[in-house]
Amino acid sequence: MGKNLYQKVFESHIVGKLPSGQYQLFIGTHLCHEVTSPQAFAMLREEGLKVKYPERTFATVDHIIPTTTDARVRPFKDPISEEMLEHLEKNTRDFGVRFFGPDAGEQGVIHIVGPEEGVTQPGMTVACGDSHTATHGAFGAVAFGIGTSQVADVLATQTLAMSPLKTRRINFTGKLQPGVTAKDVALAYIAKLGVNGGVGYAYEFAGPVIENLDMEGRMTVCNMAIEGGARVGYCNPDEKTFAFLRGKPFAPKEDKWDEAVAYWKSVASDPDATFDDEVEIDCNKLEPMVTWGITPAQAMQLNENMPKISEFTGSEQKVIREAYEYMGWEEGGKMLGTPIDIAFVGSCTNGRLPDLIAAAEIMKGHHVSPTVKMWVVPGSQKIKKEAEDLGLDKIFTDAGAEWRDAGCSLCLAMNPDKLQGRQVSASSSNRNFKGRQGSPTGRTILMSPIMVAAAAIEGKVTDVRKYIK
């Protein structure tokens, strides 16, 4: 009987079975950022340990780094942010870990930097102290988020104590219509399966829609697996995967290339692979998606109506009521036409070059509404440079948007980029939780980067398809 990619990669990385019943799993690539790694490095120092495979850990700074040029001058104005970066610099130096830093022009959001440097590869296990690590699954890696003690476990041993997950294949059939993007696909499966639907599962994203997405689109789909409760989400590697990796700084060199590709092909799910569960989502009629509530599963197609509280019962009803109380919308109404204050293009979900190109195409020849502030935050310094070479910065700034430096920025507002008061943000990020974007009462509407661009122009939630020629 055939095996799926998750089963193959998990099995090939088992060091042994532990007395607890868990498996000791080898981690091929470990990624670090400044927020969840300092305590782990401190644990190593306390215990007098070294990093077992320093060449298999890579780090960058993303959560706390300011995104305006002035504010990036060291030392940072916020002393704790400065201290966090100083620790990361010292830890990576002391323990011999590769640091993709801002001075070298290699900094960015960790889930964007990993693939862009070629350290994320098919058939690997990838771990990072961050729940959006599933992003790397787009390459056919088994990638998942871990806690701080586990970060220390990986540093010291290059392994983790893990139990295998069940697998669910989600087949996305049909073809995406113009104006419908990978982000809409992601919001669609989360809305269908719920925020807890993936607990205990690894998701395989498959079918013609996934095959037709570029690598960046696949990363968007995998990135949001955790928002549906799945710790792991992946796509099978194919020619697009290999083409993306070829020539990347840490990708296999030409003399090893064929050997690498042969291995990568071997880890893809077998044609007769079985799954614990299978789901099909028809994308032929999928429209641009928007969230209306306070979880990513509270999403709907643009032209649908928000649910009525009376359609739900019990604890479900409580959740819906809480969402309306927080967001302040009329139940049963439309999101179309909802005024926005901030438009944010960026994050590990949608801060890649094709996202910026697509948003710029919408903005071209238009102006940001006078009632809106638009921030465009490239996911990495390399993406920023590539975008500037294409003149995208000029398109955005001519339209009245702010062109920023790389970082997590408004996605979680651990740096100076924050909503104020009850502001409404049209955001290409991944979480619309209460208070997520830096104001305890701020409101977030998740959507694709092109939908954000259209909302920025009109100052309200609108249908991007009218801007597509």
């Binding site: 990385h13 007395p19 091929g28 300092p38 305590q39 060449e55 041993t157 840490f250 990708a251």
Partner: protein, 202 residues
């Protein structure tokens, strides 16, 4: 490298009250930090300040208990968030064992992971231990993981600790990292077999 956690000796720290949550143990503003090192001095920061304002002193600030290692409390100790910062703060303050009527499940698990045994006793026994410590603040008491007992003023009091965590403390496997490290040879063997370890660029 496996560390067995059996006897804990030292004076007691009486912390009366039910539902003492992780936010009280370490307030949220201390979470933006780079190591757990400084957490000890901020343990119960808000409770300490609150009592000071009333002219009272919290056990974690009372010189009588400054050398305490065995924390004693009442019901549902450590409820609230899953933050590892809470048991870390207690451990770094000096706590090496806890005796209480009950614990939140996550807090209990986090304590196992950092090697702090959490024993259970009935309400009556908790009250008796608390009173005894208040009367004998600097006297040594001893907990035993092996025997599941507290020795206090010549009296031996039975404590509850489930077989699973007791076994982990006694064979050292509470420290996942130590168990993982003990298989370093197997890790290298597996790494040698993984195709990609050969073609990774440096």
């Amino acid at each position: 490298m496996l560390t067995v956690i059996d006897t804990v000796k030292g004076s007691g720290i009486p912390l009366r009250g039910n539902d003492i949550d992780t936010d009280r143990i370490i307030p949220a503003r201390f979470l933006k930090c780079v190591t757990f090192d400084g957490l000890g001095q901020n343990a119960f920061a808000d409770d300490i300040a609150g009592l000071e304002a009333q002219g009272k002193v919290h056990p974690f600030r009372d010189p009588k208990y400054a050398k305490g290692t065995v924390l004693v409390s009442n019901r549902n100790f450590g409820c609230g968030s899953s933050r590892e910062h809470a048991p870390q703060a207690l451990k770094r303050w000096g706590v090496r064992a806890i005796i209480a009527e009950s614990y939140s499940e996550i807090f209990f698990g986090n304590c196992v992971a950092i090697g702090v045994p959490c024993f259970r006793v009935s309400h009556e026994v908790a009250d008796k231990i608390l009173s005894w410590i208040e009367e004998h603040p600097s006297e040594e008491i001893v907990t035993s993981t092996q025997d599941r007992t507290l020795t206090m003023g010549g009296e031996v009091i039975p404590l509850e600790l489930a077989d699973g965590p007791r076994g982990q403390f006694l064979d050292g496997s509470w420290h996942a990292r130590a168990v993982l490290m003990s298989h370093a040879d197997d890790v290298e063997k597996l790494a040698g077999k993984l195709p990609y370890m050969k073609f990774l660029a440096r």
